[in-house]
């Protein structure tokens, strides 16, 4: 089914996270021609649908145009190419770190992160410990205020894997993350498999005689190894990319200011640019991939709506009266205003497809050269000066 009866449509996908691959496939399934820029080295995926072009070594140097007609300036080697796209979907994923200052404890032979523990399980380097006698792993969640859902769930799965390798496992927690059906079932099964769950408010961790001692409320627990979940942080490319595309970033450094109307449909402050997955939310792998399909649905619906004229009011500049003071360009939250040369006049121009009709620019313009077309304001309230502007 051709997504758009009339116009061939392409979508630009940025990022190399699993979410990006999922987005590329879903967009291709909708019939879009996808230009995929991983922006970082990523192992090339096996089979890509035919209408997907991947640009592995490409660097994004700019984004021109507007919703429905973006043009990504991409540098490959020397040449700068312009890739057309009706919309942009960002799926950078996020980054992991070991929050040493929050835990106050460096990694070491006795302190592992869940990924490290799983890796050692896979390449059998824990055999020595596991084989001769009951090894006891202590997994600590919610310590130092670490609340990331993604890494807490990963730690739960790791604890279970260790238990299934016949190790004794005690899991310390303040508030267990169970707010989705699979997690509730997971913790119940882990209890059935013998993982000891121990709630705490304050604990003290000490390392003595080759072991880890945790002074928990109901007595001292001695273990061989301590497992502390990693923390998540915004993908390092978030800020530069946000600056390049004039996108807003929240106080926590992730894409999107936390705004009730924008957060879930994956919207950004610019029309036609979407964010999906862990680059704008805290989610484990499955929730991140589900987020992609719902954002693709929003994106597809938006591109369909571009065929009709914008419904709400949009700003329009009387370009001959514009004094090019850049106030509108600087105050527009949606990067919809630009000073450009059109029909021989260099002046501010508001792109209809990018304008949200909020009127901030119209109310700011020092020479009242911008009006919101389609805004019903009674005449006696009209802001224009009563007198004559002699030009």
């Amino acid at each position: 089914m051709n997504p758009m009866p009339g116009r061939p449509r392409g979508v630009i996908v940025l990022g190399a996270a699993p979410e990006a691959l999922c987005a590329v496939r879903e967009l291709a399934a909708l019939g879009y021609a996808v230009a995929w820029l991983p922006l970082e080295e990523a192992q090339a995926p096996a089979a890509l649908p035919p209408n997907v072009a991947i640009y592995p070594a490409a660097e994004l140097v700019g984004l021109g145009g507007y919703a429905g007609a973006f043009c990504a300036q991409v540098r490959r080697g020397e040449a700068i190419e312009c890739l057309p796209g009706a919309a942009v979907l960002i799926a950078l994923g996020n980054a992991r770190c070991y929050p040493q200052e929050r835990y106050g404890l460096p990694l070491g032979p006795r302190v592992l992160t869940p990924p490290q523990a799983r890796q050692r399980l896979k390449d059998r380097t824990l055999e020595a410990l596991l084989s001769h006698r009951k090894a006891h792993f202590l997994v600590m969640l919610d310590w130092g205020g670490e609340t990331s859902r993604e890494t807490a769930v990963e730690a739960l799965h790791t604890a279970r894997a260790l238990r299934q390798n016949h190790a004794e496992v005690t899991l310390f927690y303040r508030d267990l993350k169970v707010d989705s059906a699979p997690l509730e079932r997971l913790t119940r099964r882990m209890r059935e498999e013998g993982v000891v769950f121990c709630r705490y408010i304050e604990v003290e961790v000490r390392f003595e005689e080759g072991g880890v001692h945790i002074a928990a409320p109901d007595g001292l627990v001695r273990g061989d190894m301590l497992i502390l979940p990693e923390a998540v942080q915004p993908h390092p490319a978030t800020l530069p990319l946000a600056a390049l595309l004039k996108l807003r970033v929240g106080k926590d450094g992730y894409f999107q200011e936390v705004n009730v109307r924008q957060v879930r449909p994956g919207l950004t402050n610019r029309k036609g640019i979407y964010v999906a997955g862990r680059c704008h939310m805290d989610a484990d792998r499955e929730a991140a991939l589900e987020d992609v399909s719902h954002v693709v649905a929003s994106l597809d619906a938006f591109l369909h709506s571009l065929d009709e004229p914008p419904s709400g009011p949009t700003a329009e500049v009387e370009r001959d009266r514009c004094i090019r003071c850049l106030t509108c360009v600087r105050t527009c939250p949606h990067a919809a205003a630009e000073v450009v040369e059109r029909e021989g006049i260099t002046a501010a121009y508001v792109e209809k497809a990018a304008c949200w009709g909020c009127g901030i620019c119209a109310a700011h313009c020092p020479v009242q050269a911008i009006a919101l077309k389609g805004q019903a304001v009674p005449s006696w309230l009209a802001p224009t000066a009563q007198g004559v502007s002699i030009r």
Partner: protein
């Protein structure tokens, strides 16, 4: 000047406008001496709108926009509040009561609160 004298409400249609619609759906109507102007967003409230309204004889002007973190344009509500504060400072300077211009944050589900505010006024 076709404007009720007592109160002019410059309202963001997405929040205040919806609250009014919900209020009117319950059969409640605006008092006759209140003029309600729905604007697409709080951001389009112009300082001049407010001054023109006062000039045209409005005793009080309300500017209603979304709460922080609920504005679809992210900053429409912030600009609305900033512009009201600016007009209040101006009124103070010229010896008129700044309380004649009021900014209030509202959300579409606060029809009851809107009703209370209108009655209080």
């Amino acid at each position: 000047m076709s404007m009720a004298q007592r109160l002019l409400v410059l309202a963001c249609s997405r929040s205040a406008g919806e609250a009014l619609a919900a209020l009117e759906a319950t059969g409640q109507t605006l008092p006759p001496d209140v003029t309600w102007v729905n604007l697409p967003c709080g951001g389009s409230v112009d300082v001049l709108h407010i001054l023109r309204a006062l000039e045209a004889g409005a005793e009080k002007v309300w500017v209603l926009a979304c709460y922080e973190g609920a504005c679809e344009s992210l900053e429409g509500n912030r600009w609305a509040e900033k512009r009201v504060q600016w007009v209040q400072a101006l009124l103070q300077e010229i010896g008129l009561g700044p309380e004649r211009v009021v900014f209030r944050a509202i959300s579409p589900t606060m029809a009851a609160d809107l009703k209370a505010w209108l009655e209080e006024e």
